[in-house]
Subunit: 342 residues, 2 copies
């Protein structure tokens, strides 16, 4: 089976390659009759133009890079599939989504950013919870490759986020209003270059949380904060143990680091004979698929994943099409979901 080429189609249709190309690219100076004839021949022979030839010649492409630390995270998947949903929505799935994962490795992150920037294989890049340095941002700006940050905010790039600060505020306010007095907070890294790295989302959630405590005059224990190095169940268990070791007696823990860590905290607390929410209220973040079915069902701050994905896609496409004059920063309202754990 030899691959069919445009020249074959041209021969079959008794026209030039130029004309075939114009049909494929929807030029409007081809008469209906010719167009239909050529389209039929293309269809009948299963001809698909070589994308590499097109890309090379046009100097452009329809690829969107999706970059994250690990493809398998709950969040990643939701976003990926939202982008995908929109790709179907546009009628044709013209946009190839190429997932890149950094394996949480700074060197790989830099390498990928460079590869995409200088390799020019992609016309936009959506980066989840990535902290590129300002130099990279400026280079992307100069190269006119739109960069859409998620779970991060920088002035010189687009961004799409849940209103994390508000989410943190909601959690604290709810705990305060339900009479909790002594609260623990578990969240992602707060400082660039530290062992835990820096998560914009974590910083915002903590800020909102602290803000509420201050507003309502609730004192923070000096030991109230633990940082995760990982967003897993095991990490939640480990950090709760740490609280126990330190001897602090909390009556509530807000896991700004997500539902998985909240689940870990609950499991660990139960092992210590604590009842939830009786002895300890636990609030998560995200509203992961299983959150409603845990024991007890998890009270959490819901991130509207579909909306986040939709917006990321929309911003990417608008930016590719040159419709964005300045950087867009989109903030999506979180939703507080009360279940049984708090």
């Amino acid at each position: 089976m030899k691959k069919l080429m445009m020249s074959d189609i041209a021969k079959l249709a008794k026209v030039s390659e130029s004309t075939v190309s114009k049909v494929i690219n929807n030029y409007d100076d081809i008469p209906e009759k010719t167009r239909v004839k050529i389209q039929k021949i293309i269809k009948a022979n299963n001809y698909y133009p070589s994308r590499s030839a097109q890309m090379l010649r046009k100097g452009s492409n329809d690829n969107i890079a999706f970059m994250s630390g690990r493809i398998a995270s709950h969040f990643t998947v939701e976003i990926l599939s939202a982008i995908e949903r929109n790709t179907f929505g546009t009628g044709k799935y013209v946009h190839n989504i190429i997932p890149y994962s950094t394996n949480y490795n700074r060197k790989i992150l830099d390498e990928i950013f460079n590869k995409i920037l200088y390799g020019r294989e992609v016309s936009a890049i959506v980066a989840l919870a990535m902290n590129p340095d300002l130099g990279i941002l400026l280079k992307y700006k100069e190269a006119k490759i739109p960069l859409i940050l998620m779970e991060n905010f920088m002035k010189n790039a687009h961004s799409v986020n849940t209103d994390n600060r508000k989410g943190g505020f909601m959690a604290a306010e709810y705990l305060i209003k339900s009479g909790r007095k002594k609260m623990g907070l578990i969240c992602g890294g707060l400082k660039m270059g530290s062992k835990y790295g820096f998560s914009y989302a974590a910083a915002e959630r903590k800020a909102g949380f602290d803000e509420a405590l201050e507003l309502y005059g609730v004192k923070r224990d000096s030991q109230y904060l633990e940082l995760v190095s990982d967003y897993t169940i095991a990490e939640g268990m480990k950090l709760f143990e740490k609280f126990m070791e330190k001897g602090v007696k909390f009556d509530a823990v807000f896991c700004a680091s997500g539902d998985m860590t909240a689940l870990g905290v609950m499991e660990s607390a139960k092992k210590h004979g604590m009842s939830i929410p009786g002895d300890l209220a636990v609030i998560g973040f995200d509203d992961a698929m299983s959150a409603a079915y845990l024991n007890p069902p998890l009270t959490t701050v819901r991130q509207p994943m579909e909306k986040l994905g939709d917006e990321a896609f929309n911003v990417a496409v608008a930016a590719i099409e040159g419709k964005l004059k300045s950087f867009r920063h989109i903030l999506i309202e979180p939703e507080f979901i009360v279940r049984k754990s708090a």
Copy 2:
């Protein structure tokens, strides 16, 4: 910022483009000194060869297509990340993984298979729970584009599967040995073209399940089977309601359709005042991340996702490299995980 080209590197290094190209492609007739010099210049100038030009000229590429009904499924993600893990493992992340999703639409499936086959943008394709017809398989064989089926088996393609039959057998055997008498079975579609479609995995799991019942002389109720049209919690709830409406009193249900449906069954049963596993034993399939933390923790047949992903990747790479004389069919042992729900 103009994109750097090979000719620029050649000029800087005072050699020809041929030589630069040979360095990039690891030809062994370039003396160490020249090679190092050129590599330095490439690095220093952030030069990345145009992949579209390479692909066009070489007539080959490093892309692996990953096709599934929906990117966001638990299974999909595990496989994707396993492939990704392996990509990192190979030292260089040379393989681009391009996810395609069919949206569970037959027309899109055919379109994507054709696009990949005739468009030649991909050097192997991993297809999850897809039922291409024989014609497509033969065309892929002829075109020498390796096709690796997962959750499916066909003689004329490679395949990587959990031993689903054994999984079904294990579940039934466990239920029988723990004294259950009347068992329900929930699984995916068993017939091509039917409302529920055909799932090879479902058929195998059912076969193994039935086999065990027969072996131990346990009678099947005429109403024991329900098919899912969806692998969700809601679907599990719906089907359990159906069992209730039909008035069949089971003391066990095996959800061959996965842990999510099992969760739905448990929730629904609890609403009817049944205790689990007292009144009803429930067994799932997959061992999803949250399975261990449900209420009660779910007894399930674990699919070793990492192994499945690893094998899929290995087969794809071996096939691309022409190392496979015949079609490989890999079967991975499932693992029966006893928790509290059965």
